[in-house]
Amino acid sequence: MTREEGAAVVEAILFTMGDSVEISSLAKAMETDAKEVKKYVEYLKEKYEKDDSGIGILELEKSVQLCTKKEMYEYLVKIAKAPKKAVLTDSLMETLSIIAYKQPITRLEVEKIRGVNSDHAVNRLVEFGLVQELGRLDAPGRPLLFGTTEEFLRSFGVRSLDELPSIGTVQVEEFKAQAEEEINVKLDI
């Protein structure tokens, strides 16, 4: 077997096996000795060092293994991990608006306002980098406090939280008055 042919056989075996293969196993399959196999491995190593190779050889103590060159990871990421298309769903928007206006706020308070468990929504917003932990509330259970991030400001095009469209007690009072009126009307009848 020439050096080239030997290298080809080693390559084929390592390719198929995936995991590391012991030099002694290679020698056995090729009916030769470890010294010879090491020569073939050396040949492969040189071959893989060239620019036109995307794979490399990993030499362990008694075994060898093929691996992808590290420089290729950026392409692998693109093909194996296509970025997820994320969107702000209604429930995320709702949760975000509460956190934006009521920060610092605990999960429980968000849940109270929305009327539904909002843990998942809060977690997603944290993942997206729009919401962050601000610390813990000095209260039983020391719940986490959440607030918006700089990324939130950047994404919504504001410099500071003061720039959020105002929402005041005025409005809240209005709602209250409205509601009371409705009740009174109802009682009048």
Binding site: A12, F15, T16, G18, C67, T68, K70, Y73, L76, V77, A80, K81, A82, P83, K84, K85, A86, V87, L88, M93, E94, L96, S97, I98, A100, Y101, I113, R114, E127, F128, G129, D138, A139, P140, G141, R142, E151, R154, S155, F156, G157, V158, E163, L164, P165, I167, Q171, V172, F175, K176, Q178, A179, E180, I183
Partner: protein, 249 residues
């Protein structure tokens, strides 16, 4: 002619017919229908005798063969172009087509054996790539959401909340339902004990807001004492209770 061979299993009636044609070395275009029909029927009978399943397809073919045999005895029919029609023509065509695919199956099998010598590799994504979290496309995420939309949603929410409040009952004052999470409380107190090696019970209660919380705190203290985590001293009745952690250095 009888069948002395051990019965072979055929894929179907066409397969059996091809076998008989082969065996007799007959020209497929000029099948001696009488002979073949006879052999075919022999085979079917042998199948029944051997308790082999004779599917309806075999019986339909038997009927077809007998039909052709009869037609062969009659004067030949002539088609529109004045050519004599061979009653066997349709069967021959079917046999040829079937034989062709049988032959191709054979060719394909060769190819398959050849291709089986090429081996593949299973997917093996490096850990670094597997663990990589794709960045979030912020522009896509935000989409057409704007601050005013955020504001609108929040106002809607507040309105919904106000709607839920019954204005008459709400004037009666607050009747709060208290929920104290025993587990959370225990964790909190344990942490407090760790942080303060010696402290007074009153000091601890400063952080508690309601009666239920105070009771739960007291229960946790008793539990901790039972477990031997803490020691308790009280100088006088109603005096402050001093708690010492046993674990503290």
């Amino acid at each position: 002619m009888s069948l002395e061979v051990k019965l072979q299993v055929f894929e179907g009636p066409l397969d059996l017919l091809l076998h008989l044609i082969d065996k007799n070395q007959i020209d497929i275009y000029d099948i001696p229908i009488a002979t073949i029909t006879e052999q075919y029927m022999d085979y079917i009978n042998a199948m029944q005798r051997d308790d082999m399943e004779v599917t309806s397809e075999f019986l339909v073919m038997a009927a077809t063969l007998i039909d052709i045999k009869c037609k062969m005895l009659l004067p030949k029919e002539v088609n529109e172009e004045g050519e004599e029609e061979d009653p066997r023509a349709e069967l021959v065509e079917k046999l040829l087509e079937y034989k062709m695919y049988k032959y191709m199956a054979f060719e394909l099998k060769d190819r398959q054996m050849d291709a089986a010598m090429q081996w593949f590799r299973s997917r093996n994504i490096p850990k670094e790539v597997r663990e990589y979290e794709a960045p979030i496309d912020m522009t896509g995420l935000i989409g057409d959401a704007t601050l005013s939309k955020l504001n609108e949603i929040f106002q809607d929410l507040l309105k919904r909340q106000e709607d839920k409040v019954d204005p008459i009952r709400s004037k009666f004052g607050n009747i709060e339902k208290e929920e104290v999470d025993m587990d959370a409380k225990t964790l909190y107190i344990k942490a407090y004990i760790r942080e303060h090696s010696r402290f007074s019970f009153r000091q601890l209660l400063e952080k508690q807001h309601s009666k239920t919380e105070i009771i739960v705190t007291f229960l946790v203290m008793l539990e901790e004492m039972k477990l031997g985590e803490i020691e308790i001293e009280q100088e006088s009745t109603f005096g402050d209770i001093i708690i010492t952690s046993k674990k503290a250095g």
